[in-house]
Symmetry: C2
Subunit: 336 residues, 2 copies
DNA sequence: CTAAAACAGAAAATCGTTTGCTTTAGCATG
DNA sequence: CATGCTAAAGCAAACGATTTTCTGTTTTAG
């Protein structure tokens, strides 16, 4: 049988209250008694039951993370950041994968609420209206990762995607490129896609670069997606010297197909990724990209969340973390 | 205020017992009453408190995963496999990163036990005696990932590392290579390292290949580790035509350094990895490696665990899952 | 030397469920 | 008519902690 607090109390000849005080380091207990209790705990091998404790104190020291897919290195980093901060404050993480599936999201949120998570981190590329409503109504504190709150009721931690895309484009334009393609996420209307596109278009407009809808290709995220988009691009016969990809995996897939077709990267085609997934500097060519501090996003979101779970009311707000444009070998200036 | 079961009971004019029965789909309740209760639940927005429920029924439907580092794609896959199976059986996952640190491991295990996880999956490259003892004594069910149980009290899901290494070596030997180097994990005495080394040595011995201790280099896992080990190897002036790396990241780092020194891979040096991390087929050259079904290891371990949490006593045992040697461009036959 | 303060520890209520045991009521049976 | 049976629903005792309140014992001050 599992040993519980009364067993320890009997063993030490004190009441359960006293044992509880010792366990929770509350003063008001005689040193000699404390010793006796500690000895009894050691002897019996008592481990407090966190479930019972949580029921009583109405706190679980658990935060739930809703993330599209832990398998995506981009999201993995966020989780690691969150977990590390949790470790510091004695919290734990319940992980759920949502695969961008609204049904899975609803279910996951429900479970996290029922399991009484003190806080919830929602990570995604977008936030549907229904989900937003559910998150606002949730009894737990909520922080969004990678997307902003626009309701005034939640908080978000993210980079400025529009600015990041703009700055990347400007760098590339400086190199003389004028004919661009965008390899984007299937989910066109997603928040992140929209922002990035705005940034690219702003830069194009400023530099009088022609760009129309036919120059954006949509496909699956991931290497295969990038591979196929490049296939489509080359086969379509459209003229381009540089491609902006939604992420580094797509860029890598695109590079692969282009090279298979005998194109030289970056001599014939320049390619940019996004996110600075760690592999980006170990490929050949290395990938030009925009670094997002994923680890920090997870860490900061968690820190905010834990603070919100504490006493004081915390102001809700969007926190923008810095990005960084990283020029590497996958782009080259246009010879003129 | 959060709505609880008594509120629903009042709203529906029934006892809490009846509400509980409706919520848990227990028959014995009149259809008309059930309707009324369901309506009351909807009206009040009642969500059962899983913590209270767990305390009462002594089950949390939660399993804990202890994993070295979620950031390592190898381990990530395991978690995803576990999470997917959990979804099917209405379980959730508490994730902990242990970084191969015994202290973190102890702490994590303790928390998982205190939070009353029904089961625990321990993933690592090795199992210290103390940890083994703690796991055996744990009140939760335990399954090991990637390492076997040798106590008879636990279960494990893993590949046969010795055989895998042996088969890989045999393939390479067939190509005429005779001068090998091993790039291994710093933690020499780890179970997995030992097994793999046994496999390689067995193959070498069978084919009368000379091999001594000086031909194994130890370094950090990861790309940088591989990079430095290759640096060391080349600078040492030792003669070799093929390197077996402990994992694909090391192989990738090694390739990078070799190429920077003007070596052609695989023409000058053949390099093998291990694990078939997904990037392995997207690099140039693609990496010869041994595929471990990481996702399946997580999924199978979880399935076993959940079964063990059920009624019947489950036999403990080690389950060996199939591996696959994958020959790719990073190795080439020796010209003779 | 006594009253009051300070302190240790015990008792008991509570957190939100589940569930074994009753109760109730309607109906059939001997 | 008393009894038994069954279905439906309620009562109340857990589950294992925390914490408020209360009690009894020492100090301490006047």
């Amino acid at each position: 049988m599992k040993v519980k607090i009364v067993d320890v109390a009997k063993e030490a000849n004190v009441s359960v209250a006293t044992v509880s005080r010792v366990v929770n380091n509350i003063p008001l207990v005689n040193e000699e008694t404390r010793e006796r209790v500690l000895a009894a705990i050691k002897r019996t091998g008592y481990k407090p039951n966190a479930i019972a404790r949580s029921l009583k104190i109405q706190r679980t020291n658990t935060i739930g993370i809703m993330i599209p897919d832990i398998t995506n290195p981009y999201y993995t980093e966020i989780v690691r950041g969150a977990e590390d901060v949790c470790g510091i404050y004695n919290y734990n993480i319940i992980l759920t994968n949502t695969d961008f599936d609204p049904e899975k999201e609803r279910k996951a949120l429900n479970v996290l609420i029922e399991k009484q998570c003190d806080g919830i981190i929602y990570v995604g590329k977008d936030l549907s209206e229904e989900m937003q409503k559910e998150l606002i109504d949730a009894p737990s504190e909520v922080v969004l990762g990678c997307i902003p709150d626009n309701s005034g009721f939640l908080s978000g931690v993210l980079i400025n995607n529009e600015l990041a895309a703009y700055e990347l484009a400007i760098e590339i334009l400086k190199m003389g490129h004028r004919k661009f393609l965008l390899f984007f996420d299937e989910v066109e209307e997603g928040y992140i896609s929209q922002e990035r596109k705005k940034g690219f278009l702003k830069a194009f407009k400023e530099q009088n670069v022609e760009f129309d809808a036919s120059r954006t290709l949509y496909g699956k995220l991931g290497l295969t997606g990038g591979y196929h988009m490049m296939e489509q691009a080359i086969n379509s016969g459209i003229d381009f010297t540089c491609v902006f990809c939604f992420n580094d995996q797509i860029a890598l897939g695109a590079i692969r197909y282009a090279e298979e077709q005998g194109k030289k990267i970056p001599a014939d085609i320049s390619i940019c990724g996004f996110n600075n997934f760690w592999i980006a500097e170990w490929t050949r060519p290395q990938i030009t990209t925009v670094a997002q501090p994923m680890y920090d996003i997870g860490a900061i979101a968690t820190r905010m969340l834990i603070k919100m779970c504490g006493k004081e009311e915390q102001a809700v707000k969007n926190v923008f973390v810095p990005h960084e444009v990283i020029i590497r070998g996958s782009v080259a200036p246009i010879e003129s």
